[in-house]
């Protein structure tokens, strides 16, 4: 399905609203003001997946995943590079944010914490999307893993990985840059449903 700049603009706005909501919750949990920036949203079809790698690199990420089914089926990931994940963990647990511990591996406690943060981000964005879809989806509980992008995509059922929506967000907590990305991997039909629905709202 061909999408035009207006479609992308609408999807970007939905992500924006979701991230804003998540940031509000994180701000309360950290007791710090969170500065938001405009997320950068891009969409890839199946034969453009290799471009995702050139866009965001081959690093391993801390990833929180959530599976969804319904008129819109697939998997959403909230992913963080190690450094951002450590800043976030320190910020929400109230630990002093230290910049010399980024090499340390994530403990099971860290993973639990990240799972909740990722859950907040995913719920913000998915909530915003289901709001326009006006259809009830069923979801799995979030889970945590560490992997690179190709592995994350491979993890999704074949028929549900025909399109990828990548949203790159930057937040600043106490002047520290937190890079978080949302990957929504879905079937072509699901993606068409979303675009159709967005067009109905804005044009029809």
């Amino acid at each position: 399905m061909e999408i035009d700049p207006l479609d992308l603009d609408a999807i970007c706005e939905l992500v924006n609203i979701g991230v804003g909501k998540a940031a509000g919750i994180l701000s309360e949990m950290t007791g710090s003001v969170i500065e938001l920036t405009i997320p950068n949203v891009s969409i890839y079809s199946q034969d453009e997946f290799s471009q995702i790698l050139s866009q965001i690199g081959k690093d391993r990420y801390s990833a929180i995943s959530l599976d969804f089914q319904g008129v819109f089926s697939g998997m959403t990931y909230s992913i963080f590079p190690a450094e951002s994940a450590h800043v976030l963990i320190d910020a929400v647990t109230g630990d002093e944010i230290s910049d010399n511990e980024y090499e340390r591996p994530f403990s099971s406690i860290d993973a639990e914490t990240l799972k909740e943060i990722g859950n907040i981000l995913i719920n913000g964005v998915m909530g915003s999307i289901t709001n326009v879809l006006q259809s009830q989806l069923t979801y799995s509980l979030p889970s945590y893993c560490e992997a690179d992008i190709p592995a994350l995509i491979q993890n999704v059922r074949q028929e549900h990985r025909e399109a990828v929506l990548l949203a790159e967000t930057h937040m600043f907590i106490r002047n520290l840059n937190i890079e978080g990305k949302i990957l929504i991997i879905m079937g072509a039909e699901s993606f068409e449903t979303l675009v159709r629905r967005v067009r109905e709202i804005s044009r029809g």
Binding site: I25, E28, E112, K115, E116, I120, N131, L141, P142
Partner: protein, 370 residues
Amino acid sequence: MSQQKNLSVITEFSDALPVGICVIDRKRKILIWNRTLAEWSGHLSEVMVGENLMELYPDLNTPSYRSRIDQVMDGGPPAVFSSQLHRSFIPCTKADGTSRVQQTSVIRYAGGNPDHPCAMIIIEDVTDLDHEIRSVRQMKDQALLEVQERKKAEEALENLNAKLNLLSSVTRHDILNKIMVIDGFLGFAEDLTSDATQAEYLRHVRAAAMVIQNILLFNRQYEQLGIEDAGWFSIDTLIETLDTEERLPIYSACKGVSIYCDPMLEKVFYNLYDNALRHAMGATRIDLACQPSSSGLLIAWEDDGSGIPEDDKEEIFKRGFGKNTGMGLFLVREILAITGIAITETGEEGKGARFEISVPEGAYRIANPA
């Protein structure tokens, strides 16, 4: 009515589960409060059902709880509340007075009536797990602290060692200078004296001065032990660098063998060879062989000279033994010992000396023949 019927099925089901379950409607009215949660909280289901959850637990009214539960009711994904960030979703005190650590998930529950969505709050007791994780973390922190302290102590020792080395090198340098002076003036005195007894005394003095000089020269070498990191050294390469004399050639059968040793390993072979030149009467050759054994690698250094008397086999490795500096074989044993290598003398008097060097497993390697 259908929702009511559904609720009673869910109630019955949830009462059988070992997790706390509470179902609330959009207005936060409690619809289900299962048996486990009643036991944990000390509030009976009969009392709780119909009450407003937020009025009973006002902490749940803060936006980070309220808006996340709203998101779930609005059709969003489940919300998880980790035990690390929210230690108790519903405060529950255990019999011993400590509080129950909880991990909570909130999922949407349509309950047969999509117009009136509910939220199901599922609470797991992770107190034991939490304690375990905490004690492991404490142990890790303690271990890290100890490592840091040890590191500091090591650094202090290194500093002290460096100071001592500096002091000893300066002192040695000064004494060696003075010995040169003594040696020079003794020469003059010997030339001047015509008294035989006096000349004899002067020779004793010079001999004593030379012993002092040797002790200091050995001391300088010994100080280098263990200063440089150990590394891999090829035996053949070390043998090739020895300045061998025509009368005593070395035949090595240790091609491709390397051992892990202090860089002063070259002094080992130098001393063994020097020792043979000085003491192996009638020797015509030295044979060097390498043989893997049950405990590692056995390197044999053998000459065909006069050999070493039974009584001296251990004595030769002691400091001060022998006619020359008395330091050679002592130093050899010390150098090898740094990386766990042992040396003994096993030859037969009259047939030749044989030094056996035992290299432990992992401290030697043999290159594949090309």
